[in-house]
């Protein structure tokens, strides 16, 4: 995977967290990102109210807020359109 537009990166993170929630190492592996860079993105997403952190038996779990779920749907729609319009590279997203 070469260059990934920001919108695809954010969608990948939201999808990695999913409605069940996820720990940082799993998000990093799904979103294919180094943990320090991912942590920056997660902090911004917390500030924007898309996700929140929760302590689950000593593990830090990230979960989507209502706004995060809505955002994920909106971004899926946008990425779908960008794909169809040929405005993002073919290898920058999951088919």
């Amino acid at each position: 995977m070469k260059y990934r537009p920001d919108i695809v990166i954010i969608l990948d993170i939201l999808e990695a967290i999913g409605e069940e929630g996820s720990i940082i190492s799993r998000i990093a592996s799904y979103a294919n990102m180094p943990i320090p860079r991912l942590r920056e993105k997660l902090d911004i997403m917390i500030e924007n109210g898309l996700i929140y952190e929760e302590d689950d038996n000593g593990r830090k779990v990230y979960r989507l807020t209502e706004k995060g779920i809505e955002t994920m749907e909106k971004l899926r729609e946008t990425v779908f359109m960008l794909r169809q319009l040929g405005l993002i590279p073919r290898d920058s997203y999951r088919p």
Partner: protein, 227 residues
């Protein structure tokens, strides 16, 4: 003075349909931009804003032609149609340029070049639009239309090659967009022929169909997400 209103009226109806579709798609990308602050989405949002501006200018000129039929000798409905098409094409071509730029990694990652480029293109388009508004010389306007048609034809050809490089060929809705670009290319290509086998109305009608195909794609996106 005798003015035939069927031309401006068809332009106005097509313009309203175009505006509705462009506004709808603009909102989708604007919402995406608000969430991600992505430079690429910002450029795409600007492109759709320019499409909206192009259509609005075309609409205003044609509504004006309907409401205020000109008293000047030699000025008829055909002149208004040409002025509106030249203005529409000039602004539309900057929108297409931005759409092309949005796929550039330089715009998306390294540096936000879009403002500089749109400023240069904007000056050119503004000059063409002003000429279109000020002159009643049909030869000047026809040359302006020819120039903008060539620009739009070249840009849509680049957009098509970009599409072939980036898109998934097997997706049916993607083919709708291919058809849309082909229609824009065809209408401009035919209009630059010396015999001029089609009228300016043909350009707007093909653009309306192209954007309708885009709207169908947006509906497909909504269905895919809800699935």
């Amino acid at each position: 003075m005798n003015i035939n209103l069927s031309g401006p009226s068809t332009f106005v109806v097509s313009g309203i349909i175009l505006l509705y579709i462009q506004w709808n798609i603009y909102n989708l990308f604007r919402d995406g931009y608000k969430i991600t602050r992505s430079k690429q989405l910002r450029v795409i949002t600007y492109a759709f804003l320019l499409f909206i501006l192009a259509t609005t200018s075309m609409l205003i000129i044609n509504i004006w032609a309907i409401l205020n039929p000109p008293d000047l000798p030699g000025i008829d409905e055909g002149l208004f149609r040409k002025i509106s098409i030249m203005t529409y094409n000039s602004i539309f071509s900057i929108g297409l340029l931005l759409l092309l730029l949005s796929t550039s990694e330089k715009v998306a990652i390294d540096k936000d070049l879009s403002l500089e480029i749109v400023a240069i293109a904007g000056i050119g388009a503004t000059i063409l639009s002003i000429i279109a508004q000020l002159t009643t010389n049909i030869q000047i306007i026809e040359k302006g239309i020819l120039a903008t048609n060539i620009i739009v034809l070249l840009e849509s050809t680049f957009l098509m090659s970009q599409y072939i490089l980036y898109s998934e060929k097997e997706v049916i809705t993607g083919r709708l967009w291919t058809l849309g670009i082909l229609m824009i290319m065809f209408s401009r290509g035919v209009d630059i022929l010396p015999e001029k086998p089609v009228t300016e109305l043909f350009l707007i009608l093909t653009d309306t169909v192209a954007f309708l195909l885009l709207f169908l794609m947006k509906k497909e996106a909504e269905i895919q997400v809800k699935r």
